[in-house]
Symmetry: C2
């Protein structure tokens, strides 16, 4: 039978177990009502309440401690009412461990710019198009991609939706500022975003509901704005901080942005890097004191036949793997490596079998768990 | 680590446990080198060595006792050499339980006719088109759909491929005769098919390799030809019989064809109905003494959101299921019903999440296992 979730009986707490002596890296534990998240850690993205091609009951076994769900998508389908009736998001998707939801703002704005990746890499269009109909002090009005319905997202309505979902960690409404923007418009957006975040926090504090709220640090690639954002938000009553907004068009700008930001945040609050979870970026940002990273990259790579390994990525549909009658990684405990060979996975990809996506995705998530554990061990050993 | 298969240490045997007193239905057990198949039973189709969207290591848990793989597809991708190097098909796909392979002929011919379903229902074209290049006494030459390579399939080469794969049950090469055909051409094809089957059997007998070979009973919807086919093939040294060829354009013709065929076959040999596994047809054919049925129907239905249940099919993407916070079937032990609700599955289908296919497919296969067990119980209880 479908199990009810255990009663929520603990509140949010971040415990630092070890602080590196020669970097800002730390090993910690985030306590939430649905369990512990060891940090640094990777947060897999399950936009619609599932990772792509993986059932949720596999994720416990894989050791995934935090899952990222997108409020925007869940608002338009299945909608708040269904999730609330089910007893919250954990019950609806049958996940027993922690969940984080975003505000919905990121998707509203990024879809309007013609794609998240393009915009964040400064390749997007310069003005709002498509689904965003109006931005006012009150909030943002957009058209649902699902059924064309007009939806108004305000700081208050976003928090209320996230209350209905009941994720362990929630995010205030912010505005995704385009990379290409005039100084004046940037400053306007920057100020509005912070007013929205503080309104979100006020709404959250009315009924904390054992949820934690992380701020979203803004300011694009401008150090002085990042510092200002840290000052405003670190002095407010947030439980942690997410570094968001435009993080630059390449890993150098990302590094510089994170490097100028983390020292300005209280060390005792956990720090999440929004939407970044590729291996080179994680490698650069763990020493800068980032505790959690979210990204759809591992599962998306898997669907394209890119299998992660400690020796670098394996493009499994290359001819070289056709006769490899051994696992992708003999030391990996995932369903793929424990049961099947590279030759079989090569065959499944060539034959375009959906089973290939499932097996490759389970491996990449398992790999991310091992990789993050190895970061924790490296920090504890004084190597980072 | 990837496990090697246990040594093959038993040979094929069909044991009838109970013969119904008022129909031809029987409850039996097919013993094979990789384990037992309780009959009547359903054989799931894993064309390329996997069921669509389901990993093989789940199938043991689901109780799937026999899996049907297609020689034609496996010949073109990954090819005999890869499978042989892996130590056979069981090792390659990591299936510990029995496998049946066909000869490849069915796909060669049906693809040539512009689709299996169309042809068998008499809607196909009347002559060979596309991939079949030549049919001679020797065999059939066709072009691989995968890379355009010319491949010659003869009774001997089909059996040799099936020896390399090492399935527990194999099938002789036959010709799929079109539904629309002149009497003379029909008779020519009929005779050639039987010569091919006997050549296949002779090739198989050179090296039985602990495999069993089923004949394919032909004759279309013509009772006298079906009887003639039974006479020829039942007198040869086959281990069982598959009823194949054109089975008619509807369930009435199917029923009539099976009804005229099974009484002409030795009762002590198992009988398989090729490519038929929808629920109404199984219901009609179990009392006629069919022991096993194969079909991609349950997994294909699942991918289209049709969930099987004892109360009839559930079209899960209908609005009515949106708020159903209970399982598809509370008595079902599959991963879907044990973990998730109808409302969640509805949502996954609406959101076009690949996880939906996986969960729906696991349910439909689990349902088929329960349905076939209920037939066995009904026969044992004297109800069929």
């Amino acid at each position: 039978m479908i199990e009810s979730q255990p009663q929520i009986n603990s509140t949010f707490q971040f415990e630092i177990l070890y602080q590196s002596k020669h970097s800002q890296a730390r090993v910690g534990r985030i306590h939430t009502p649905h369990g512990i998240i060891d940090t640094p850690n990777f947060v897999a993205v399950g936009t619609n309440g599932t990772l792509k091609a993986l059932p949720n009951h596999w994720l416990d076994e894989l050791g995934l401690q935090l899952m990222f769900c997108n409020t925007y998508h869940l608002l338009v389908q299945p909608g708040t009412e269904v999730i609330q009736q089910a007893g919250g998001l954990h019950n609806f998707i049958q996940r027993k461990r922690p969940i984080i939801t975003d505000s919905g703002g990121f998707q509203v704005f990024s879809l309007a710019y013609g794609g998240i990746a393009n915009e964040l890499k400064s390749k997007g269009t310069k003005k709002y198009t498509g689904s965003v109909l109006k931005i006012t002090e009150e909030g943002v009005v957009f058209r649902s991609y699902f059924n064309g319905e007009k939806i108004c997202l305000t700081p208050e309505s976003s928090v209320q939706a996230q209350k209905a979902f009941g994720a362990d960690i929630i995010i205030p409404l912010d505005e995704l500022t385009p990379y290409h923007i005039s100084d004046e418009a940037l400053l306007d957006s920057f100020k509005r975003t912070h007013r929205w975040e503080l309104r979100s926090l006020a709404e959250h504090r009315k009924n904390p509901n054992n949820q934690a709220m992380y701020s979203v640090i803004h300011g694009g690639i401008h150090p002085e704005l990042r510092h200002k954002s840290c000052e405003i938000l670190d002095n407010a009553d947030f439980d942690g901080h997410a570094i968001g907004g435009s993080l630059g068009k390449n890993i150098t700008e990302l590094y510089a942005t994170v490097q100028t930001t983390t020292p300005k945040l209280s060390p005792e609050k956990p720090r999440h890097l929004l939407g970044i979870g590729d291996l080179p970026s994680i490698d650069q940002c763990v020493p800068l004191g980032i505790d959690t990273f979210d990204s759809a990259y591992p599962t998306r790579s898997a669907r394209h036949g890119v299998l992660f390994s400690f020796d670098g990525p394996i493009k499994i549909d290359r001819q070289i793997h056709r006769f490899e009658h051994f696992p992708v990684d003999k030391d990996c405990h995932c369903h793929l490596c424990q049961n099947y060979t590279r030759a079989y996975l090569y065959h499944l990809f060539k034959a375009k079998e959906p089973t290939a996506m499932l097996l490759a995705s389970t491996h990449n998530v398992a790999f991310m768990m091992r990789r993050m554990e190895s970061y924790r061990n490296q920090i504890l050993s004084g190597l980072i």
